[in-house]
Amino acid sequence: MAQNAKVAALSDELVHSILAFDPVENKRAYRHAQDIAKAGLRAHQYARTNQFDVQATLARLDEKFRVLNRDDLADALDERVKEINDRPGKWIPDCLSLLLQLSHQPTENSRVEALELLRPPTPPPELTWKEILDDDPYSDDDIWKDIDYGADSSGDDLLPTKREVAKPSPLTSAGEDDTYDPQACVVAGDAAVVDRLEEAQFWKHEAEPEDGKVDITELQAVRETLFMLAGLPTSLFHADRRVGPEYELRHAMTRTTNYLLAELGDTGRAIHRLRQWLKRPSSLPLIQTFEAAVSKRLLEYHQSLALLQQKYLVPEKPTTVSLLELHDNVRAFSRPILRLAQIVAEIEPQLLINPFIHLEVLFDQVSLAQMTLEQDVFRFLSHIFFECLQTYLKPMRRWMENGELGLNDETFFVFENDSGSEASFLWHDRFVLRRGQENKLRSPAFFEPAAQKIFNTGKSVVFLKKLGIRTSRLPAIVEEPRLDHEAVCGSFVDLPLSPFSELFQAAFQTWIESKYSLAFNVLREYIFNDCGLIETLNSFRIIYLSANGSVFQDFADAIFERMDISQRAWNDRFLLTELARGIFSTELPRSQSERIIVRSVRKSSKSLSTSIKMLSHILLDYALPWPLMNIIQRSSIPIYQQLSTFLLQCYRTKYLLQRISPQSVREIQEGRLRQLSYKLRQRLIWLADVLRSYLTGTVIDPCFADMKNAMSKAEDIDEMSAIHMKYVARLQDQALLSENLKPIYKAILLLLDLAASYSQHHARREAVNARSMRQRNTDKKRPRRKSILSIKLEEDDSDSNNVGNDEEGAASDSPVTHGQEVVLEGIDKEFRRLLPFVTAGLRSVGRVGAEPVWEMLADRLEWEVRRD
């Protein structure tokens, strides 16, 4: 039983060691494995191991190894087998047999080196007493010596660090010699000097018993004054520079001395305020420059004070000490700085709001000083002014030379409005002048005349940069003239004779010119020559304003034909563009005619299909390069288009009326109707002609000539675009297209429309006639298919022959003719109503407004009426 339990336990252990997984986790598998083990081990059918069998197997194995060239393996195995056979053991053969059965391809897989791993590490040699004693013998003789308890005590450990911290010098001296003689440290003072010192410290003196004041000498008073002016605290003067009443000069009257000292005190007070202001620095560079200039002047003032002091301290020759003299001297050289102090006191509160105010005030004061002939003040202030100006000129210089602005530069009056704007609006929209309250420019007042020029210079540089032309590469930039006192006012000792403001403006203009002219010339060259401004304006005239009448007529005819043929798709913009380009290319160079584009506006057309209003549905467009778009602005193109439409409408009227030949009118039976027809036709044609000649001859030609003239003289882009705008505005006004002339314009359009309705009516009447004629012909003759045109011809030929028929025709046509008469009379009435209205309107406007051309048009229109 015990045996079985032992076997069971051992087999459990074996199973556990073979198993790959934790038996706790997988109990079922574990139990299965245990069952396998139990079942396997219980089997008894196996035979007992044969010891000799085992040895034979081992021998065979050995032979096999040697044959397969594994001698090492064979030797190792042999050795161990021999060893184990030397040992007694009942179960050794069984073990060997087990191993033999479990062996798995030893020839390939076994490695002799693996044996090395098996060998347990050699145990460390046992520690013997001898070895221990060799290392650490029991004792030597020293063990019996007395112990020195004080040698290594820890109480001494702190002292060394303390000694390092303490100062070395006294201790070294102390260290060298323990005692020293303190008496040796005392140096005997000089008693006389002490007395004198005590005397000089007058503030410590005791007051006189009678009047409670202390006597001081004049020299002391002078010294105190000089110290006070230098900004040092003194006992004679209080902190606010009032004279302390407790001191007096023995030899002078109190009142006079007080008066003198009070005046000096005022001076000191003003200068002190200046010093206080300087102590508060500002962050703007402009004001910092001003502060620097002021402090420099203050330094100079101190130097002069020091010179004065020197005169009293180390006199070269005997000088009298006089407070009066001091007062005079001080007053003389304090005048400029007092003026400066006054200026600062005035502008101090405003500096935060208006950072240029010091420049403006300085400018004014300089002019004033010149007028009042204060030479020293003038020179003094003018130097300060020019120093401060240099700082202000820096951003300006940068703008004018490179077209660049500093970020968030509040002090410069140009700022970038819209950096992402298109190139075509570069000139006008991208940069703007910064304006403050009341639309005043945010700059010192004396710059305002030149501000526009400065602005334009910078803009031209930006423009050129965009074009790819860099001004720095251009040759011969004129050297910038200096702007400082010597350059502006001359280096005369006396005051300059011309007023300072004039001199300054002149110098400043020269300065600006030096920067401005180069950029400008280059730009102007470029615009005129490379971009072809004048050529473009000419092309505009040809395209929009019918400069070449025949070409425009061709264009108009082509459009009208399309209008009449196909009602719906006549304004197809691609076909019209091709048409326009083809026609205009006879007049314009190819590159320019390619830029024409025709756009069609989609509007609901309630009016007649032949109405001239249809012409406003198509618009001509011209593609401009962006530099020219800065000059010929986009807002002026619609006016061109309106004018062009107006011209087309006049052409259309004429075209429609010309298609009604006099012969076709003649064949109207009714006499009165015929006369009316003739009259209307003639009048409408006359009206169209008058309008057209007015537009082209009276309005467009002179305006264009003026504009061209002015443009060739124009200096900068501002001027050019202004000229163009004026030109376009004038065109608009004179061509009756402006807002206040809208009623007149509408009336004229109505008049032109009458022509359209007349021609349509006429065509209808002719169609009716032709139909009735055809019917009659078919009654009389055999039906023949002919076009209306040929029938008309036939009618004309056979007019005299068909008189008899006409009577019949007239009889059958009478209701139709009656209708025609009504229509024609209606047209006539309208005409007679509108024309005087137009004329009267023109006259009244001509009287009020400024354009004499309206009067001219009114005259020409009335010419007909008067005769009526």
Partner: protein, 81 residues
């Protein structure tokens, strides 16, 4: 006296250890994939009367089902002879 009794036991233990050592070396040479612990269990089992062939079969079966690839890779195959 205890000093005398100890050495023989010691000697015996030492001898047994040596035997196990040698057997372990032979086991390694023959590529049986038995480690020292397993080998000692096997020897104890044999000394307690287990049949070596049966034991070998059991070990092979267990290895086939649940064994790891601890010593060498590969499925257990019948021993080479």
């Amino acid at each position: 006296m205890p000093a005398d009794a100890a050495p023989p036991q010691d000697v015996k233990r030492k001898a047994a250890r040596e035997v196990i050592d040698i057997l372990h070396e032979i086991a390694t040479l023959l590529n049986t994939k038995l480690d020292r612990q397993q080998l000692s269990y096997c020897v104890s089992l044999i000394e307690n009367g287990a049949n070596p062939e049966a034991l070998a079969n059991v070990i092979r079966e267990l290895r086939e089902e649940y064994g790891t690839d601890s010593v060498d890779g590969g499925v257990e195959e019948p021993g080479a002879r």
